[in-house]
């Protein structure tokens, strides 16, 4: 067991864990975050995804010892991260992609949504206007069992439009 100082959603937390403990178990048990969810423990589905220094990362296979000192963002911190990137005066209640999921009625059971939103937001912060082929390629490592892929694609496109139009107003 060692003590680790983690920066999660801009807050610093000290936790005790074995060196090989995957980040996922720290986020879900020690920090009680609801975003990252167990899906396979094999980095095959994207259920547990978080951003580590802005890059989508599978927390189920990432040892906690690898992320000390790095900036970890979960579903809970996406809106604040977005506000900072965009230089917004206030953090909105939802990241535009979260709102787009509501508007497109994209979710069904909603379990895969964490990974979808984390990866989708990562994509949109790199590319403000991804075409459908790029969205499909980027999202291909995220599985869904309810058949929501078409509406997730629509939600990402809607959020992209929304985010571009907000940029213009600035």
């Amino acid at each position: 067991m060692s003590t680790y100082t983690l920066v999660v959603n801009d807050k610093t937390a000290e936790i005790n864990a074995a060196d090989d403990t995957p980040l996922f178990y720290v986020l879900t048990n020690a920090l009680r975050l609801k975003g990252p969810r167990f899906g396979c423990g094999l980095a095959q589905c994207g259920s547990c995804s978080v951003l580590v220094d802005g890059v989508e990362t599978r927390s189920c296979v990432t040892p906690v010892s690898d992320v000390q000192g790095k900036s970890i963002t979960t579903l809970e911190g996406l809106a604040a991260r977005y506000a900072r990137e965009k230089g917004l005066p206030q953090t909105p209640e939802l990241h535009p992609l979260q709102q787009a999921f509501i508007d497109e009625r994209s979710a069904q059971c909603g379990h895969c949504y964490n990974g979808m939103i984390v990866k989708g937001s990562e994509l949109l912060s790199r590319n403000a206007n991804p075409d459908e082929a790029e969205i499909r390629r980027e999202m291909n490592g995220h599985l869904c069992r309810c058949g929501t892929y078409p509406r997730v694609i629509k939600a990402i496109q809607r959020a992209a439009r929304e985010m571009r139009s907000m940029g213009k107003q600035d």
Partner: protein
Amino acid sequence: MNQHTALSRRSFVVGGGSLFVYFALPKTQAAAEIARGSFPPYVVGPSAENTELDSWMVINDDNTATFNFGRTEFGQGTLTGMLQIAAEELDLDMNQVSAANLDTAVTRDQGMQVSSSSIEGAAPSLRAAAAEARQALMAMAAERLKVSPSSLRVSAGIVTTVERSGPSISYGDLVKGTKFSIKVTGTAPLKPVADYKLVGTPAARVDTPAKMKGTYEYLQHIRVPNMLHGRVVRPAGQGALAADLKVKSIDKASIADLNGVQVVQTGSFIGVVAEDEWIAVKAATQLKVEWDIPAALAGCSHNHDKMRAAKTDDRTLVDTGDVDKAIAQGLHSVSWTFKGPYESHAPFAPNCALADVRADSADVYCATQSLFALRGSLARCLKMKPEQVRVRYFESSGTFGHSCYNDVAQAAALLSQAVGKPVRVQFSRANELGWDNYGPAHLADIRAAADANGQIVAFEYQGWQHGWNFTIESTERLAFDAKIERPQPSPASQVNKQTAGGVYDIPNWRVVSHNVNALEGYLKGSFLRSPLDISISFGTEQVIDELAYRTKIDPIEFRRRNISNPRWLGVLEAVRTASKWSPHVAAEKKSGDIVRGVGVGIGTHFSSYGAAVAEVEVNKKSGVVRVISLVGALDPGLAINPASVEQQIESQLIHAASRMLHEEVTFDEKGVTSLDWERYPILRFEEAPLVTPVVVSRPDQPSTGAGEETMAAAAAAIANAFFDATGVRMHERPMRPERVLAALRAG
């Protein structure tokens, strides 16, 4: 509804890439009752008649209502639909209604939430209770306001008199501090469908906002004080259902380096428990157990041959006319065999449960589809009475049938009882894929004939499959060597005659179900979204399609000539129009390595009507099949929430494509080997077809299921599109590249 009554016989409203088709109301619309479906009692639970009205709902002081019905959210929008029905009958708005979490301590037993039965089978009771409450509230209001009940109107739970300046009172004020204290008689008048304001509208799903905010409490999020983490230790993938799995030895020294791990063994059930979840995960992986595993399975490549050779319990489900004679005389005849694999539910999140078992009572948190049946089986495992066990439901990921939710709940209960503390058990991906209750494999021999005019003169379907027993879970069997009776065929676990020719008007029609004994070396089966229907339509609809091809008739035209039921014709017409179908004889010669084709299919589960059109692309060099687009139509009678039905059609189209292209449980003689997403692949983003849902709502017809009735049609459409592209029939699914290449080579 009113805005749609003016439409001509039917019309399409196009918007957002989807289509609604409303069939106009008949002019003399009576109060069309939402009829109770034909589900068996264990599916719908006890009748609502003579139950206490207060057990169904509470009218709160703030003029809202909290319901206690026995159905909930599994990801498909059922909760929203049930609330729409209750709110409609009581004239409340959607933001004034909610439902209590399912909990055996308070919830009404409304059976099992299976077979897309909630709207058809469980909602009528809720509707009757809501109508009873409205009638009682009107009587209370008439007395309080000193007017006759007929002069009262209600909107958003505020009762007013017809005169504008008259007095008013809210439901909340009427009921304040009291109860209804009456019984549900079932005689209270129901609101006429023509007066509906909420039912039939695309009301927003009540579960979505919290899910999107990330505040939704899924089962996986629940923690209780002093809780420990448990994992089960089993052979990687299960073997044959009734085979005698024994533990030869457990080497506890193999986890000596892990602190504070308790190993629990009851019979052949083994689990590990630790305070730290990661330690529990490591212990379950590391613990060396030597098993005695019987080699009782045939292996997946020989399973169909084994079923054909088995001594079966044969049931003739249909036998009209003289099939043999008609086939002998038919101008165009087909005689083919088709095979379908075992398939896994493969929920996105492996199942999870939390149990707190004390000396004389137990609390279990889980994601079961059968709240009260699970309580009974937990009581058996814990040697308690059912009343001592309290089961609470929390949502997990979409399960689409009997995945490991009860198995994991029993495991948590046994571990908690053994260690004397609350235990949360999370199944691993391998546990879930390896110990699922699989959708059973299927084998079909089909013979059919058509005359020169494209009339089907004979159709015979002979199907082989084994049934399932969903009362004994793996944990109970392993721990207590629980005896499993030979499963008896049920409507869902044998050939579905509706999909095996029942769509068509066939003078000589025979359906025989060869029920294999599940205990003789087969995998554990159970209900999986549209059980067996995909396998049945894969064969049936390819044979129908072949008859169209042999008679040189367009596949949709051929079907129209052989169908008289207007509801089948309605969904067929809906997909024909929405897909912009061009009439053609299938499989015109196509050149090149990459070819495209279109196909149509029809089918259902039990109720509701489904049709689909698919476009596929086949790479003849690599054997890779891509589904480019799918149009699916579903007629569920009166669509309670058309937007939810749309979502369900899309979900079924994607799921059907996944099952047609990829999904197959693999196993050798000792057990299942498809234990992760690499070996049990499902459809991915890059392969997702363009989907177009068409909701065919018929407000004059009772509402029936919408969660699984277009899948069989979509699967068949894909197979027929493959034929249109290649001129080759697939006789076994999934259509994986090696299988496609073999079929193309054989021509």
